[in-house]
């Protein structure tokens, strides 16, 4: 390569200038311009660059490239999977909502049925109870009427007797028939 010939030339130049160049470098001069060291630096630099190039192109860069590609793939897949799951979740939610609505309608229907059934039972029970109550009250009325009738007769008897006694006690003599008629008239009125 060009650098090889360049190196040879530099060595020759350095040999020619010899010790003077080296002294200048070790003093306050610039070691960068000491051409006797150029071949050494260039030789090792070329080896370094070749090694770095081989390491990068054979090992490091394909590896990092593969990792990056794999990551991009994984991310794409994950996003697709996430979208899929999201869609499924939405479907599940819709199904759930539908089931809920159905259940609500069913529950309403069952409740209405139960209500109607209970109402019917209640109605028959009320009707039966009313009947019983009516029978009982009729019976009671009859009993009360009997008792009342019995009571009026007793009062009539007592009143007649009391009236006869009072009349007798006043010193009058009255016949029982007139008193009875008077008492009956009073009680009725």
């Amino acid at each position: 390569m060009a650098t090889e010939t360049h190196g040879e030339g530099a060595t020759g130049l350095a040999d020619a200038t010899g010790v003077a160049g080296h002294d200048a470098a070790s003093g306050a001069g610039m070691p960068q311009l000491d051409f006797s060291h150029f071949p050494n630096q260039i030789f090792w630099l070329i080896i370094t660059l070749v090694v770095i190039y081989l390491v990068l192109s054979r090992v490091a860069l394909p590896r990092i490239g593969a990792v990056l590609a794999q990551r991009a793939g994984t991310i794409t897949n994950d996003i697709a999977a996430a979208e899929d799951l999201k869609r499924k979740a939405e479907e599940a939610e819709a199904a759930y909502d539908k089931a809920l609505a159905d259940a609500r309608v069913e529950a309403g229907r069952i409740a209405a049925e139960a209500r109607a059934e209970i109402q019917a039972e209640l109605d028959t029970a009320i009707a039966k109870a009313d009947e019983q109550i009516a029978a009982k009250s009729a019976e009671s009325e009859k009993a009360i009427a009997e008792i009342r009738a019995g009571a009026v007769d007793s009062v009539k008897v007592v009143a007649k007797e009391t009236a006869a006694e009072i009349v007798a006690a006043l010193g009058f003599k009255a016949d029982q028939g007139a008193i009875d008629t008077a008492v009956d008239g009073r009680v009725k009125g």
């Binding site: 150029f38 630099l45 660059l49 860069l61 990092i64 990792v67």
Partner: protein, 257 residues
């Protein structure tokens, strides 16, 4: 740079108590022994280049070993770097620039890690040397030029022939475009090396002033502030180098203005 060196030299001579060696950190030294530096000698350059490779491998290879879909912290950083450069090349160069992604990524990771490793205390900053940045820049320059001719043939020369300009101006513009094209590798490399070297040298100069007790607190604050700025520069220069590479690549792939 020159003034700093001069300041360093002046202080060197004038005051006995102060020791300014702002450029010593850039010296290339053999790692073992003290012999001459041949092209194959293992030097501190070798060490810090190797550490750059290790750091990159730790982040991009070891950090991603689990290949986790949910990344660990290190893997996140590695992916961030990957995405950063990938997006840059895609935005600037277009879809057909993607196949040069490993090349651009190599440049970016190398420069950014070399810059940051250079910020460690006692470290050697490999990217502060023009030899290193020139190789990087000329590699880009030759790659882009050859690629331009392979992809577009002679149409690549339309890059220098500004069709939107009036016909009379086009030859002049072509000369300017041609010069600017060949200046690219120079500016590309000197920008990076210059930034890294200047910042590190300034930190060293400020640190040298800490020897005087009265100025020491100010010196420490200045070093801290410069260090913060250098952290910013370390990243920005790597970014600039990489995005310019992408721009040049775009010129090679789509030469018409």
């Amino acid at each position: 740079m020159a003034t700093e060196a001069a300041t360093g030299e002046a202080a060197h001579g004038a005051e006995g108590g102060l020791q300014f060696h702002p450029m010593d950190q850039f010296l290339v030294k053999p790692l073992f022994g003290d012999g001459p530096v041949h092209w194959y000698t293992i030097t501190n350059v070798t060490l810090w280049l190797a550490l750059t490779v290790v750091a990159i491998a730790l982040l991009l290879v070891v950090g991603t070993r689990n290949r986790a879909t949910i990344p660990s912290r290190t893997q996140s950083v590695a992916e961030l770097a990957y995405g950063f450069v990938y997006k840059m090349i895609e935005d600037v160069t277009g879809k057909d620039g993607i196949k040069y992604f490993p090349y651009v990524m190599t440049l970016f990771m190398f420069i950014v890690f070399a810059n940051f490793l250079g910020l460690l205390p006692m470290a050697f900053t490999t990217t502060s040397h023009i030899a290193v940045t020139a190789v990087l820049a000329f590699a880009v320059f030759f790659t882009v030029t050859i690629l331009g001719f392979i992809k577009n043939g002679a149409h690549f020369l339309e890059l220098f022939w500004v069709k939107s300009a009036p016909l009379a101006l086009r030859p002049i513009l072509a000369v300017i475009e041609l010069i600017s094209y060949f200046v690219r590798p120079v500016s590309h490399s000197v920008r990076l090396a210059g930034n890294m070297m200047a910042g590190h040298a300034v930190i060293k100069v400020f640190a040298g002033f800490a020897a005087i007790a009265a100025i020491a607190p100010l010196s420490v604050v200045a070093v801290a502030a410069m260090y913060g700025l250098e952290i910013l520069v370390a990243f920005i220069q790597a970014y600039v180098f990489t995005i310019l590479t992408c721009v040049y690549l775009k010129d090679a792939l789509h030469p018409s203005h």
